[in-house]
Subunit: 125 residues, 2 copies
DNA sequence: CCGGCATTGAGAACGGGTTATCATTCTCGC
DNA sequence: GCGAGAATGATAACCCGTTCTCAATGCCGG
């Protein structure tokens, strides 16, 4: 995984232009505009490689296939919003905090995840 | 789905004794103590029927198969804790609130989910 | 206590997301 | 510009949770 190919460039562009977590299929759709012959095997290979390289971070939501987002975006603590209508996922910045107060006695918290569900701005209208 | 069988009774007992969300396999393990011949098809059938009857509610967490919990427990707003060590899921009562403040402009929130990760009391020691 | 028929259980089949295969194509060091 | 070998793409295969199949079992109304 060292060579810079048209396919990898198109995949990277897809993430930079989207600015939100993308599923493998969304990546395929977006990058296909740039490289029409793009196959899903290539997308999966690239995603895996980019996660190993630390360029992408996986985003997993309940009951759905993994999505991915650029690691530098993931580095800033944030959560996710999933639109009921278009199924797209968006980053949500900020965090209510105080979650450790909810823990039962004897439990210790390492991390937490918050997912909001509703309608995005495009679908709300 | 009208008959009361040993299998269904054992499955119901498993939930009442556990007091936490159970995966189909956890249900199979627990109820097998009471009905050794229990098959997984029966567990899946019973879970589906009980969800349709409104007795159970599904609990979905990122990257894992669905779990289920008694509907009356689910009726009270709560969230979930997943132990890194034993993979069990527990209910967590309470909610930080104020999540709608995190929404980007134009977005509307219908619901939210919070999952805490860490070690349960049994695994912390 | 019978008998109809819903339920069960073992195993096969399914479905979707993901990964492997392998001949072909393309990148890039030289 | 060459050539080694990495990357690609079409397709088959895989994984694993879930559902189906069907003969055997067992619940329960009468």
């Amino acid at each position: 995984m060292a060579r810079i190919t048209r396919q990898r460039t198109a995949i990277t562009n897809a993430f930079e232009q989207a600015g939100r977590p993308l599923s493998p299929l969304e990546v395929l759709d977006a990058a296909s505009a740039e490289v029409p012959s793009l196959g899903q095997a290539t997308v999966y290979r690239a995603l895996r490689a980019m996660v190993e390289e630390g360029v992408l971070a996986p985003v997993e939501l309940p009951g759905e296939p993994d999505r991915y987002e650029l690691a530098d975006a993931a580095a800033r603590h944030h959560h996710h919003f999933r639109c009921d209508s278009c199924d797209r996922v968006f980053d949500v910045h900020g965090c209510p905090g105080g979650l450790s107060n909810l823990l039962p006695p004897g439990f210790t918290m390492r991390d937490h995840e918050i997912v909001l569900f509703g309608r995005c701005d495009a679908c709300a209208s």
